[in-house]
Symmetry: C2
Subunit: 111 residues, 2 copies
DNA sequence: ATATTATATTCATATATTCGAATTAAACAA
DNA sequence: TTGTTTAATTCGAATATATGAATATAATAT
């Protein structure tokens, strides 16, 4: 019974395993954008962007609305961004730790 | 320069794409456990558990300490759990939405 | 109807990930 | 030293994922 939620959790996290998809998520963090607004921000081919958007849509990380010829994408739920931000904080702390360690080793070499 | 953080972010999220690894994370959520304590909780072969633990270690999602013949695993940073919990909340809300929709459709069919 | 612009899908290939089986290593006891 | 227990690694086959290229669709204008 618990298994199902781990499956779903794993599946949604699958969407976060591509740097491009994370870029898309952060590009949408302050509001919706159309595909053609996103494209130049990402340095990516249109078809490939569409593929990434399809993944994000399928996992309900983003939702869309059509207006005329344009399709607007936005983050489906603010908590998704919140979770991403927290993970990013962890990463930044890890990087800071690593750098501290590097400086320490350099100092030791001097002595 | 921003690219690098998206790469790292994608890489750490890679660890969350396996239901087993998520089970491990939640099994460790209230404190450290040895590999042999973890194994029976997960219904998984020892070697495979070790492989998953290696992934989690490599991405610094968990850290270890050895005591005699046992190796204790624990979550490296409370924020990792926090991020997982928030994603889980999103999933639970999605599931609740889906169920609401299903009930609505059933009701409509009656009329 | 046709053209145009915006977006999505399909397919093939390259690459990555997963897991079981077998083996290895590390700590300790006898 | 040998054996035992605990945990990690290596390797190969099956499976999954990512990307480019080509094509398709949807909305609108002419």
């Amino acid at each position: 019974m618990n298994r199902k939620i781990f499956e779903l959790h794993a599946q949604i996290c699958q969407t976060f395993t591509s740097p491009k998809r994370l870029e898309i998520i952060y590009a949408l963090c302050d509001g919706e954008k159309t595909v053609s607004e996103l494209a130049p921000l990402l340095v990516i081919r249109q078809a490939n962007l569409s593929q990434h958007l399809a993944v994000l849509r399928q996992k309900k990380v983003v939702v869309t609305r059509r207006k005329g010829v344009n399709i607007y994408y936005r983050i489906a739920h603010p908590k998704i961004l919140q979770a991403c931000d927290i993970m990013r904080e962890v990463l930044l702390e890890q990087i800071a730790e690593d750098e501290k360690l590097v400086r320490l080793i350099k100092k030791e070499k001097k002595n």
